[in-house]
Symmetry: C2
Subunit: 288 residues, 2 copies
């Protein structure tokens, strides 16, 4: 039955686990297959052609695992490669840019009479260069004022586990110190940034509402599954029962599973139980 | 004539330009072909199998360009993949680990009677995990005391151009503050680290001698070319003459040439004149 198939999620690496966590929380009945392209991470400094190529390879790998829906957790891949991915698959594909943009516009409009729909977006170099967030926000509200800014050091900072260190504060200051006064809402436009939420909030000030695109995506995906009749009906069972019934989420990486597992623990609170290193491209794969 | 062929250099990205610069300074008569694997950078967080695969693909690409010698500028690739590269090519291959290790031992021994051959190495996670520097230093001096430490944030920091900012000082303090008292010599075991030389020296203290593995490699390569009769005899000519004679160095990248050019300017002082994006792996390449 189509409803019982898992949801596929891919990311350039470990960052998409923040999106996985949000999906898992909002959709406790669903099972997930996650692919982290750790052999080619990061995408945020790479070109359109390369990100498209990697994204389509990842999407095809997951499609072969019989998924009912694909979530592109990586903001850079969502910004650059969504049309190419949709052309390559015959299932629904959800990115994180649209949901993040719509949640920002909704949040900014709710911010009371003081609000002037001034929305900030922080993301990788490639996401900012693509202008995808600006386009999506304008589509949701043509009157919004938008400031996009790349924060390249945030990704390695989150992976290093220094989210609350002085270093994080100094880096956030350097990127964001003048931003708080210019905006009322800020989109965390990269999967790693929710890890740095506290220090980002502290730097831009409490008056700025932070929007987690992953969270916004989980909410939209919930609606989409219901609308399409694709939601899984089995009630969620306990961890032990799921294990006994082989109903666990699967995690795949293209490289360095041990490092992924270590960083995943920092992101999820525990190590993934089912983790496997796989090939999604190249000679070996072409031969099969 | 074999002597007139260029020297090949590859790196995971832009960092190897510090090695290129050292080679260019020590060997002004030579021409170089540089490949930066910017589509798959960084290598420092990736596994042995993946680094070997990428390194061999890069080495083969350069070997097809008729080079007389290959310099593996990337410390991670030198640490993990030198045997695989040597097995794949039939020309001499020089890595940066051996020269860096030998220069550190020589420097530490010269440091006067106070010296106790206490050598520190800072590098990427994968280089440190490989233990390649420890092995090479022990081979040169079995009595040396060695401390290896991974400094993952140094690479994005150098690429961001924040070498002299407060952020650089805070990060260097976090990684290195206790190191200065433990060592007399410190190997900069990643191509990006010479960019951060000032802040590293300041943090470990002036009493610690810094060894740039790229510099050490350039000196050894000079000796190797002379010994093998491979040094180019043509006297170095002016920039204009070299341009007229099509005697310029060539730079290849696997992705995002524009970004490479921008960061290269920070590393070299000027943009590379001959820069081209190429395929070194994958379906397209297999077909040719």
């Amino acid at each position: 039955m189509l409803q019982n198939l898992p949801i596929g999620i891919f990311d350039s690496g470990v960052g998409g686990l923040t999106v996985y966590r949000a999906l898992h929380e909002h959709l406790p009945n669903e099972r997930f297959v996650y692919l982290g392209d750790t052999a080619r991470v990061p995408y945020g400094t790479k070109s359109l052609a390369t990100v498209e190529r990697y994204a389509v390879e990842n999407a095809r790998f997951l499609a072969e695992h019989e998924i009912k829906l694909l979530v592109v957790a990586c903001n850079t891949a969502s910004a650059l490669a969504l049309p190419a991915i949709r052309a390559a698959l015959n299932i629904d594909v959800a990115g994180v840019i649209g949901p993040g943009a719509r949640a920002a516009v909704a949040g900014s409009n709710q911010a009371g009479s003081q609000s002037s729909k001034r929305i900030g977006v922080i993301a990788t170099e490639s996401t900012v260069q693509s202008g995808a967030y600006t386009q999506a926000i304008r589509k949701a509200d043509s009157a919004a004022t938008i400031v996009e800014r790349a924060c390249p050091l945030f990704v390695p900072l989150a992976e290093e586990g220094w989210a609350d260190a002085d270093v994080a504060r100094t880096i956030a200051q350097t990127y964001l110190k003048d931003l708080g006064s210019q905006i009322d809402t800020l989109v965390l436009g990269c999967t790693h940034y929710p890890i740095l939420r506290n220090v980002i909030q502290e730097t831009v000030g409490e008056q700025v509402a932070l929007i987690d695109s992953g969270e916004a995506t989980a909410i939209e995906v919930k609606g989409l599954l219901r609308e399409k009749g694709l939601a899984r009906l089995t009630p969620g069972t306990g961890a032990l029962e799921r294990q006994l019934c082989d109903d666990l989420d699967h995690f795949y990486v293209t490289d360095a599973a041990e490092r992924f597992s270590r960083v995943a623990e920092r992101f999820l609170g525990s190590k993934p139980e089912r983790l496997e290193a796989v090939e999604v491209w190249g000679e070996d794969r072409l031969r099969t």
